[in-house]
Amino acid sequence: MLRHGFYALFYKELLRVWKVSFQTVLSPVLTSLLYLLIFSHVLEQHVEVYPGVRYTAFLIPGLVIMSVLQNAFANSSSSLIQSKITGNIVFVLLAPIAYGEFFAAYVLASVLRGIVVGAGVYLAALGFAQPPLLHPLWIAAFAVIGSAMLGTMGIIAGIWAEKFDQLAGFQNFIIVPLTFLSGVFYSIHSLPEFWQVLSHFNPFFYMIDGFRYGFFGVSDVSPWLSLGIAGGCLALLAGVTLALLKSGYKLRH
């Protein structure tokens, strides 16, 4: 059951995003547009991933979900590491907030930030190409599950890291490779077989593939399989995170 402590913490997280929205919302939208501009300009004439779909249109859902995932991760991880390093995490730790509420507040704020940024990227990208919107429910499902999963990973990283460079390491060596090797910019069918097989072990691949299915109705694997794997990964990570929070790992000594 969620009590008022949860709402206050959730509200604080959103207020924080809002106060620095230039950096938390506008700048990631701009970054994604730069990707779109460059990749579509270079590859539009040369690549056709799905028959009859322009490369730029193909790229848009990938960029959108990539923004959703990266911003969800950035939200919880940077909020936590900043609070830890400046020491103001103590205000939350002193309060009668249960670990489940703590978890829910940070994850939901991450989901919201991820989706707002994703929507921003999508709307801005419509100026370049208009991918179809065949199954909006699938789109919503993968956006929510994906951002919740990355928000959860952000909590783990934010609690684990003691310095900003450790957090950057987590991001550069885990989050970025998993995102880039998941089919954001391509269909994995265009990869050599070894990388195709490897990609199937990457949970991010399923989130991106399922998300793209919501637009085009075409995907590398069944969206149900993607939903199951993404959902399973989320449940597993959530379990780990709740156990860490319950034990007070690196928060309560």
Binding site: R3, H4, A8, L15, T86, V90, F91, P96, R252
Partner: protein, 301 residues
């Protein structure tokens, strides 16, 4: 009556360091209690355990009867802690910080109390300033205000006046004393011994994780220190007085006295030896003396 704070056989170590080594302590409701000790004695560790910022290895702590581990929601709701470190959230204004903090404790509309707290801590005209723009002293006031937003019956202040100007110290103590008179229990750690002396009705001294003295402030002052006299003499101190010498300073002797009456015995002994007193100074017992006696010299406070 249920004690405000109950600490039962608490042990806590960090690696090979024993921060707390079997601490027992009971603080009654309505007390103004002082926790003293040199740096590293375990004061902050004890407070962190009470607040749930750290978990005990052994033993039990309770706030108004609520176990701080098992019933942490209740115990934390009853506890207001002013942390020692000057921490703040740079994203928000003073009022936002206080409203959020009240929200964490489940209070939605208590702007009246927030205004009152800000008023008593002279924060009212900074209500809409960003935390980043406040001076150190102002940030310290906000920390105190944050600890009080939920009107906790038990207030814990971990060196709240470290690096704070005289004016704030005065207004802060006035406010805390008022809260104490209204029935709030106060637990204070401080390095300013005169502060503890004037404010606290009871005092515990910690050394290396153990309580080495625990008594009412009055008893501590009476029992351990006695009073002292500094004498500058025309000759050498008669041997009969040697056992009373506690120090030799400024070309004179410091003698310990049971009470003022025993001063007469000292003077009589001097007359008998034909020695005259050139200068004399009576020294009142103070907590500093007690502290140094109990905890030992070489503290780095």
């Amino acid at each position: 009556m249920i004690p405000a704070i109950e600490v039962h056989q608490v042990h806590k170590h960090f690696g090979s360091t024993r921060a707390l080594d079997g601490v027992d302590l009971q603080i009654g409701q309505g007390e103004f209690f002082g926790l003293l000790g040199p740096n590293g004695a375990g004061k902050t560790t004890l407070i962190n355990l009470l607040a749930g910022l750290a978990l005990p290895d052994q033993g039990r702590l309770a706030v108004l009867g609520h176990d701080v581990v098992r019933n942490y929601r209740d115990s934390r709701r009853l506890l207001g802690v002013v942390p020692q470190e000057l921490v703040f959230d740079p994203f928000f204004t003073v009022r936002e910080v206080l409203r959020l903090q009240a929200g964490y404790f489940g209070l939605r509309r208590n702007d009246d109390w927030i205004d009152e707290v800000m008023h008593h801590l002279d924060l009212s005209d900074k209500a809409d300033s960003n935390m980043r723009r406040l001076s150190g002293g102002m940030k310290r006031r906000v920390l105190v205000a944050q600890a009080l937003v939920h009107k906790p019956p038990v207030i814990v202040l971990d060196e709240p006046t470290a690096g704070v100007d005289v004016e704030l110290r005065q207004s802060l103590w006035q406010f805390i004393r008022r809260l104490n008179r209204d029935g709030h229990t106060v637990l204070l750690t401080t390095h300013y011994l005169e502060e503890a002396e004037t404010l606290c009705n009871r005092i515990a001294m910690l050394k290396l994780g153990k309580i080495v003295a625990l008594d009412s402030t009055q008893n501590l002052l009476k029992s351990i220190a006695g009073c002292r006299v500094w004498l500058k003499l025309s000759g050498i101190l008669p041997p009969v007085l040697l056992p009373q010498v506690v120090d030799q300073a400024d070309e004179g002797y410091v003698l310990a006295l049971q009470d003022y009456l025993s001063l007469e015995t000292v003077l009589a002994a001097l007359r008998g030896a034909n020695i005259t007193v050139q200068e004399m100074q009576l020294q009142q017992p103070d907590l500093e003396t007690v502290f140094l006696q109990v905890v030992g010299r070489g503290r780095d406070a």
